[in-house]
Amino acid sequence: MVDIALGDYFAPLRSLFETVAEFESSIALRESQYMMPWVFVFHVVSMCMFAGTILMMDLRLLGIGYMKTPFSQVQRKLFPWQMAAMLFSTATGLALVWGNPLNYVTNIIFWVKMLAMGIAGVNALAFHFITEYTLVDWDAGQTPPLGAKLAGAISIVLWGNVVIAGRLMPYALTWFRE
């Protein structure tokens, strides 16, 4: 067991999460026998739709997948599905934390996941506002520029991290001290 006293770092957040834990809606979620497992199930399914379509777009950015289709087509056609899946997995993810806030506030793997999601968001925006301006030059080409490859690689690493961290979260209590 690795000795990381996370409780100290998250003391201010802890009181917020404790407040949520006392809400009737949080108690009801926590105490219902079937609600949480099904929220988990829908979180996993929507996550797969979201991460899956993001990863396929990243393969195109890296220049190693779907090279017969211009990048702009991949992006435009997948975008509404990515957004719908993201909404669904965010809603189910919030419900999971809402129902068991104290399980998450001192869970280091949970915060690694949140951080990776934040950086992935910044990476997507950076690509949108910087690299995408040059899109006309490489949209249908077989070798995307370094900026595009970098955005794709960073995105795969970060979203891969999010998926892996999500699955490892329950083990945090075995691996690290709170």
Binding site: C48, M49, G52, T53, M56, Y66, K68, L78
Partner: protein
């Protein structure tokens, strides 16, 4: 069969996986990551069949591009699924969700490499939009129910 499951779980490798606090966890994590890649590769073709993705490309082109990622992620799923099964064989064997998952997996693999393949690789326009949409929805439904049963093994089955 029941005795076989007990024997499998008694293999040194099965016990090593089960007794380690991190091997099993990492295998589960990479199983889920492979599932995300698989979902992506499946959706690329299914969304195209639904007429909602890559409508400027023939479905066969998209299917050919998705193929290595589909096959690769299926292999990764199996490779990360086997260690989980052998380390918990008797419990998995008894789980209704595990049995459903395996049955659905067999069905979806046969479906993907016969009916869906036939429709996806057909010359553009051979099958109507309705047929393509049904083929895609059945594929999405089957894969989703495999993921759902897989997740439920952990909650209720084992």
């Amino acid at each position: 069969m029941e005795q076989l499951a007990v024997d499998i779980a008694a293999w040194p490798v099965s016990r090593a996986i089960n007794e380690s606090s991190w091997i099993f966890a990492l295998v589960q994590a990479f199983h889920l990551l492979s599932l995300a890649f698989l979902a992506g590769a499946v959706l690329m073709v299914d969304l195209r069949l639904l007429g909602k993705g890559f409508s400027n490309q023939p479905t066969a082109t998209v299917a050919r591009d998705a193929r290595p990622w589909l096959l690769g992620s299926i292999v990764a799923m199996v490779l990360t699924g086997i260690p989980q099964f052998i380390s918990l064989a008797p419990k998995e064997y008894e789980s209704t969700y595990f049995r459903w998952k395996m049955l659905l997996l067999l069905v979806v693999l046969i479906y993907t490499f016969t009916i869906k393949r036939l429709v996806a690789y057909a010359p553009e326009g051979r099958f109507g939009g309705g047929v393509s949409a049904v083929v895609a929805l059945v594929s999405i439904g089957l894969w989703a129910s495999i993921a759902i049963n897989g997740r439920l093994i952990g909650f209720f089955g084992v």
